[in-house]
Amino acid sequence: MDRIKPSTIAAVFKTALLAVVTAVLVWMIYVAVLASNWIIAGVLAVVLLGTNWVYFSKRAVASKFLFPGSVLLVIFVIVPIVYTAWMSVYNYKTGNEITKEDAITQLHQVGLVPDESGTNYDQVLGTYQGENALLLTDQATHQVFIGTTKGLNELAEGSYTADKSLKATAADGFTVASEDQIANASSWLNTFSVPVTEEQFINPQGADVASLMREKFVFNSDNSRITDQISGIEYVDNGNGNFVASDDPANVLYPGWRQFNPAQNYVGMFTDPKLSGPFIKVFIWTIAFAFITVIMMWALGLTLAIAMDKKMKGRAFYRAILILPYAMPSFMSILIWAGIFNRDYGALNNILGGAQIDWLNDPWLARGVILTVNLWLGFPYFYLISTGALQALPTDIEEAAEIDGASGRQIFWQIKLPLVFQILSPLLISAFAFNFNNFNLVYLLTRGGPTDVLNGETAGATDLLITYAYKTAFGSNEQNLGLACAISVIMFIIVGALSMWSLKRSRVLEEM
């Protein structure tokens, strides 16, 4: 028997893999179409066609390697950035989440109100003279009617059958709907209305109850106004996602809608005292924290790396010990540290003889705790990369410096340190960017606090921009997603600009 060629096995494997990928993508497109998510369906379709073209084509060799990464980059990096930037130019917050069309539809529903006396009817679904109809019993007067889209006809006694509670269950000429018919009655019941007077009508409120209703809100699409027919109040579009009373802008109708308002969130961030004060304070602390923490971690990591660079007894053991904090999940470490620093039950205050030092509720102590805990979490990484950098330095430079009479201190400060710094620059910059957005540390340890609420502070002493944005977006029942997106965009620009500047300064990009 001939041996199967490796190329045949590869082709079969590739075909099978592509079939699986294609199947998954087709399934996802189908689900997206069912959900009317046309943009997602379109993107998936492009990915589907692209995948099959790239891997069945002999010409697209480079794309075979670049395509998966490019797709993931677009989906998980580019799209979120673009979407965040897009949402930042909307008035997008609690009460202003849906589209204007949906808001008007919802307001129309909300504006269907029961009559003042709350007249309700027991209801039986069925047909009358070949039309959909309701057999209605007034719950207060026990009068019985047949309701159709043409109107309400009261039935005389004897022309219907009632149960013990005087609810009519059958009537002459009325065919009661079967269970299956009731289950499928939504299609007509949703729009079914029995006119009673010019203003009043009866609407089903379920399968067995109906209510006498009237229309409170009337929307005029010509001038985009809503009129409250009961109070006479005119509601106008305020240009910021809500209908408000024309003579009282504080009288706001909800739901509102997401209104495109490009400058609002950005201008407000710097001009609204409620936002600008905390923003600038948080911004300064974020820069300071990211800078100080990286310097501290690097200093300790490098010091330990230099110490461990010398031959000594038990060096392997010490090295293993030093990277242990790195091996432990950071959230666990942070929670343990939070316990250690607890004022009442914490180990540290116990060690200090039952001291009542409020580590996490004093602004400067809390900042110190944040830096200390992050130093614990981060120094092993800097120790590892510093060790690698030191070992990568060419030994002949050090030997040449010694021959030229340089002291050990001079060799370190003037030769080794600049070289190590150049090697580690990209990692220091990425560490800065990471700590700029170090959400987990701050949120698990202090939740951004302490916040001096009684003296009017709204941002905590240890809040970073990322935790401040999170609190703004999700910190209370009133979420301001548009503002949070704007803060995120500012953060993205700052981190991106700092990273580009630092990379340029360190000439890393040119030498890569």
């Binding site: 069945f56 529903q109 269907l112 709350g118 504080a250 009684l454």
Partner: protein
């Protein structure tokens, strides 16, 4: 016809794809199913009652989707759209009002029978801008669990303070009364000492935003007398507000006299071997009663139900939970104190006990408590005020006066949105 290698591969790929897809496509046609979302706590008790039910709403089948936690459910709800979104949800009334504000709740019309079954304050809490959206089904309220190893529960706050001083001196306790649910659960201690949040208008149920009781003279005097250590000018430990993870654990270890919390801690307290009695936090002179917040849990329909074509079925299910029959089925399954007081005689002693405790509850007005018009909401103001007065020793009057200034603005703002 010559079959090329490439053609063969393509054919194989198409066949394999078709085979994988076969039978795995979601159903295109929508059925008459009402999907109800609930958290893990309600899910484990209500699923046996509701899931698959076809009788509550004739012609509709109920499907229950339970989430691993309330947070998971709320996160999913925040992102929910008509595709995959629920038709109904069980959650706190605050979710009903925020859903209404966001246009994601289904307005309903209450029948006269519904209105007769449920207290107007509870119904109002599940409404927004005068429109009813939800049916309140349970009461989240607290009461004081007193650890009987320290003797009988005190009848006055003075007696409570004396008991605490005695056992603290003996090294038996570190805490007197623990607010087991943090600042939310601190109200009984405030009201027991003559303080609180806001006053009420003549009808007794409408908050009066101009009456801020937070820094009342009686409270300041009593707090200085009972909660402050005369030497350190800081808190003496009689009152702690660091919630379940803090003083709550002290209570479980027998290091706190009492904890103020709800029925949701019952199992943990029993499992810790604590023998307890239930009663309100005693007032200074034993007259009158302290008060705690009473929040309501509710069931409501979503705007997606209309898009799914099941809104009438949803209204029937809501009507069921508004009825005595539905309320009893819910209370029996969940063991939560019901809003519907007419089913009291059918409840188990535990549930009835908490339902009884709910009678002294003040309605948790989320618009007032959640407002941060003054700079921070009720919960954060309390935390900062307690820290200033009892941890930092900055003085009860000075600290509570500052807090009251913020709260006054919040209450006025909340009333305008109520």
């Amino acid at each position: 016809m010559k079959i090329t290698k490439k053609g063969l591969a393509l054919g194989a790929a198409v066949l394999t794809t078709a085979a994988i897809l076969g039978g795995s496509m979601p159903a295109m046609a929508a059925d008459q199913t009402i999907t109800i979302w609930m958290d893990d706590e309600r899910g484990k008790t209500l699923t046996p009652v509701l899931d698959g039910n076809t009788t509550i709403a004739s012609g509709y089948k109920i499907a229950v989707k339970t989430f691993s936690s309330r947070d998971a459910m709320v996160a999913a709800w925040d992102k929910a759209s008509a595709a995959g979104g629920p038709d109904m949800m069980f959650d706190a009334v605050s979710s009903v009002t925020s859903a209404a504000k966001n246009g994601k709740a289904l307005p309903i019309v209450l029948t006269a029978t519904n209105k007769a079954e449920l207290p107007s304050a509870a119904l109002k809490s599940a409404s927004y801008q005068g429109v009813q959206y939800g049916i309140p089904v349970d009461v989240d309220t607290t009461t004081m669990y007193w650890n009987t190893k320290f003797g009988k529960a005190p009848k006055t706050f003075k007696e409570l303070a004396a008991t605490f001083a005695k056992f603290k001196k003996a090294g038996k306790v570190t805490t007197g009364v623990c607010a087991g649910d943090g600042t939310w659960g601190a109200l009984p201690v405030l009201t027991a000492l003559g303080g609180g949040a806001w006053g009420y208008k003549a009808d007794g149920i409408t908050p009066d935003a101009t009456k801020v009781l937070f820094n009342s003279a009686a409270f300041v005097k009593n707090a200085n007398t009972y909660l402050i250590d005369s030497k350190t000018k800081k808190g003496n430990g009689l009152f702690a507000w660091d919630a379940w993870d803090g003083c709550g654990q002290s209570f479980l270890k027998g290091k706190a006299l009492a904890i103020n919390t709800g029925s949701w801690r019952l199992d943990a307290i029993i499992n810790a071997g604590i023998n307890y009695t239930l009663q309100p936090v005693p007032t200074v002179d034993g007259k009158g009663t302290s008060h705690q917040w009473s929040g309501f849990g509710a069931v409501f329909g979503t705007s997606f139900a209309k898009e799914h074509g099941v809104d009438l079925g949803v209204k029937s299910v809501l009507s069921y939970f508004a009825s005595q029959k539905g309320a009893l089925a819910y209370a029996t399954a969940t063991k939560r104190p019901p809003v519907n007081s007419k089913i009291g005689s059918h409840l188990s002693p535990d549930v009835a006990g908490f339902a009884n405790a709910a009678k002294t509850g003040l309605v948790q007005e989320n618009e007032l408590l959640g407002s941060s018009a003054g700079g921070a909401n009720w919960y954060d103001v309390l935390g900062s005020t307690f820290t200033a007065a009892f941890t930092k020793g900055l003085g009860v009057k000075a600290s509570f006066d500052k807090g009251a200034v913020i709260l006054k603005k919040n209450f006025a703002d909340g009333m305008s949105k109520r």
